[in-house]
């Protein structure tokens, strides 16, 4: 059965009753969205402040193949397994982006027998959070052009506006556009472009905000561009945009409750890109889950060089979160991919390629244990085509590395298939005090932060950038010195070259652009070609998606 077929066979329980049964949450604290989705009130969230925190477990992955390694699937499987072992465990996930549903990737609510449901709703619109983020973003964009049209009292340089527009759709034709054509009634002609909603700074802000007032302050701090002197920033607050933007986010700020196929509660909230943003679900969701559950399993986007680093250095640092362990998801397929095997041949046995590709896993493992200061359990997300010999080799290599390695069959078996993993995680987290180390110190310069990440984690010899970028970072050091950095690079490699698989060393990380995300509170350093608006493939998944007269959806997978 396909993912959607499995999901449609799920025996869901009404979410209001389930939240009461599992965590004692009364109906009055929940806003239902249909019978199987609900938002938790911020008043309830606030009421939990004095409760002790559960243990926080991060699920990350080795450098992924284009299909992904199954972080969400593993997060769900591990959460279900912990519940099977009698533990109170909640999963915290990112909301899927709508655009990719119509392209190649399909849905993003787990897979096989480790999914969150209702799958169609979660993938299509969900509770409207991303739409609200998109409108809040585009309201600010409209206010900018409107301000210039009506006299530009703020002296915004139309050539230095850095606030693009967003849409939750893979639409390459919108990457680079000209707006304001058609004469004076339509404003000023200028270059502009669209990003996908997950790349919006509003998304990053929503995911880091700790209250409505913090949200509003952060929205007001957004730098939309510069004045004609080229250096004076113009803030969203100069346009008095933050109140209306926060009003549009009035419900989006509330965490969403759904359930797994095994009727365990999961929170799905926020979903920033893991390249130009930090790639984790909201701080509100994570903190709430830690108050109501004893174990919280969460995920971060892309591989551990991107998502996990930002989870630690941006999210945990800002929100004072103390993780207890990391699950590093790997697949035999991905290891073979890193060992040089073509995409088409990944289902054929190739022990030598697994051995060769292992260096990718090894570097991620060492980064996690040495530089993030966290215990790491390697989880092999088992595929049907994996052979005994390949798995045995991987286990042996992990043993040499000193890594606990668990072969996990949650995709095929649900929580039952991940019980060894869950048992291992319980042992690890119950026997240490929570907490991690950061990769770099708050007080060093932005340049040094980037260099530290590149040399410590990526195996780079150093970093480079042109004089203009270096000068820009120095200017920002003065005003935004404490900001962490958010490196935007390909997820396919430790380097900026997607073709450099395994564990490349000695390369130079060339920074091609830097952006100030002043509302989110970090500096983005772009290394290599970075796509913030995907395109659709020649045969888009949209062509296969259908709905029948009863409302049953097919082709979403």
């Amino acid at each position: 059965m396909s993912d959607i077929e499995i999901a449609q066979h799920a025996s869901m329980q009404p979410i209001i009753g389930l939240a009461k049964k599992q965590y004692g949450i009364d109906a009055e604290h929940l806003d239902p969205y249909g019978h199987y989705k609900a938002k938790l009130s911020l008043e309830y969230v606030a009421s939990l402040a004095d409760k002790p925190d559960g243990k926080l477990i991060l699920v990350t992955a080795i450098s992924p193949t284009p299909a992904g390694e199954g972080k969400t699937t593993t997060t769900v499987g591990l959460g279900d397994a912990l519940n099977r072992l009698g533990k109170k465990a909640i999963m915290c996930l990112r909301e899927p982006s709508l655009g990719p549903c119509f392209g190649v990737k399909g849905g993003a609510a787990g897979g096989g027998y480790s999914q969150v449901v209702p799958m169609e709703d979660i993938n299509l619109h969900f509770t409207g959070d991303f739409h609200a983020i998109g409108v809040a973003h585009n309201l600010l964009a409209a206010l900018i052009d409107n301000h210039i049209h009506h006299g530009n009292a703020l002296d915004i340089d139309p050539r230095r506006i850095q606030w693009k527009r967003v849409v939750d759709m893979n639409d390459r034709a919108l990457r680079s556009i000209v707006v304001g054509m058609g004469g004076a009634a339509n404003g000023y002609l200028r270059e502009d472009g669209y990003d996908i909603v997950v790349a919006s700074e509003v998304m990053a802000i929503l995911c880091l905000a700790t209250s409505r007032s913090d949200l509003k302050v952060r929205l007001g701090k957004i730098v939309i561009g510069y004045k004609s002197d080229k250096i004076t920033p113009v803030y969203a607050s100069d346009l008095q945009a933050q109140g209306a933007m926060a009003a549009l986010l009035k419900d989006a700020i509330k965490p969403n409750l759904v359930q797994t196929l095994e009727n365990n509660i999961a929170i799905i909230h926020g979903g920033p890109f893991a390249n130009i943003a930090h790639g984790c679900n909201t701080v509100t969701a994570t903190k709430t889950a830690l108050k109501i559950a004893d174990y919280v399993v969460t995920e971060a986007g892309f591989g551990a060089d991107l998502g996990a680093e930002k989870f630690i250095d941006i999210k945990c640092r800002m929100a004072d979160l103390k993780p207890s362990a990391v699950v590093l998801v790997a697949t035999i397929r991905a290891l073979k991919f890193h060992g040089g095997v073509n995409k088409e041949d990944l289902n054929l046995e190739n022990v030598a390629a697994v051995e060769k590709g292992f260096q990718n896993l090894e570097r991620h493992y060492n980064n996690i244990t040495q530089h993030y200061g966290l215990p790491c359990v390697v989880c092999v997300n088992h595929f049907t085509f994996d052979t005994e010999a390949e798995l045995a080799l991987l286990e042996a290599k992990c043993k040499v590395l000193g890594a606990n390695c668990v072969i996990s069959k949650h995709w095929a078996e649900g929580g039952a298939g991940a019980q060894s993993l869950a048992q291992e995680i319980i042992t690890v987290v119950d026997n240490r005090a929570p907490g991690c180390t950061f990769v770099y110190d708050d007080n060093i310069s932005a340049w040094d932060k980037i260099e530290t990440i590149a040399t410590k984690l990526y195996g780079a010899a150093g970093i480079s950038a042109n004089a203009k970028i270096k000068a820009q970072l120095k200017v920002w050091d003065e005003n935004y010195g404490k900001f962490p950095v958010c490196i935007a690079k390909t997820q396919m490699s430790f380097s900026t070259n997607p073709a450099l698989k395994g564990a490349p060393s000695g390369h130079t990380l060339e920074i091609s652009e830097v952006r100030l995300a002043n509302g989110a509170g970090f500096i983005v350093a772009v290394a290599g070609d970075m796509m913030t608006m995907p395109g659709l493939p020649k045969q888009p998944a949209a062509e296969r998606i259908d709905i029948d007269d009863t409302g049953k959806i097919t082709g979403l997978f």
Copy 2:
């Protein structure tokens, strides 16, 4: 108190219980969206098929001032008054568009003590229908550019694509744009533009569709542009877009239930523009309401020349609806406006101007009674500044015309203020068989349909168009001969010149453009300058909108 303050003082009842209490609708047929909004299942809608229909009452208006004459307010007030008189009455309204909230107009959920609530939710996102429509529209746009990018097997002429993109935001900079800049990876450079979501043909289609399968068929029929031979249409179904678009609309197709300040059920569903589309809530909502209530009060956009004509000639004709009466809303302010008074002086007594402006009301009244074949009650939506002398003059003029005229104070008093109006309506509709006449016959040419509307209703001497437009209409007559026409002109005047107030005669209606809305099933004839993407004013309402830490919104009015 402002509208939002009144709304925030409302004593709302949980919508699930209210629907059960008032209409016996069981909870299982409702998808809650929070506690005060719910969607009705299509299965429930289908189960009502064999029940008898209630009476359908249309609320329309004279040619409006920029502030509007209060159709929604009157619809709500009349519905509440009917309920006060012991009748089972439901109101069917259009969903407000998000964009105007941040501009001049503010919210669109009624006013004063005749509102639907929760007001903030209804104005901001509501149940996500417009977002779903926007995404479905933009998916098709992305599929078009993607198809051309990947080889253009359908031979779409990139210069003849008529499917623009949409956003629910007043954003003039997007009216006319160039997409596909930045080189080959970003597709083909071409001119494009954005309309506001309410102008999307997907909106018109959703509002006319009678089932999921009808929706899908209509979506597939959309003409997105033409092949390089200039005349062969390319349909959305050629891109296999209709299934995914319908899947995105899976919940948007379900009618939304809310309540009035007086705790009576209202259905708010769909909201197409009343110029380039037909300006009425969904057929599904109207038909459902007719099955569960004895009286259904609904509204159509802009004045009776636009909204009411399309309600009759497009919606009632297509859906076989039989209205029983029309309420023609007028204000003393608007009559003075039509009598030549400047906007700033509308609150000053001016009996002569009321008398002069009465010709506008008179023509609308005659159109309704003579050309739509419906009884018409004139409702004066009372304002604080109206004087006795002005009201007396208006009543006297109505008497001469033979029109029933009721001064109604629902804005200030809620349903209690509209009981005379309600009593009058009951008398009228209970004493005639439902049904109306159409302005033109199905079988005449599109040109003749336009001419009939212009000469019969607008007082025009005739219509004109260039040879290309005439030829285009003739081509369409062959393939789409039965289609009604949808005239897009200013709502400010019977003519195409907004400055020609009152009841201009002898003018020529110049058709500047014609568009085929093949999915919706009508031909749009554009007369005069037609804006399908509004702009924001110099001091946008967005600057005043705010939300506090408890989630309370202010400045939305």
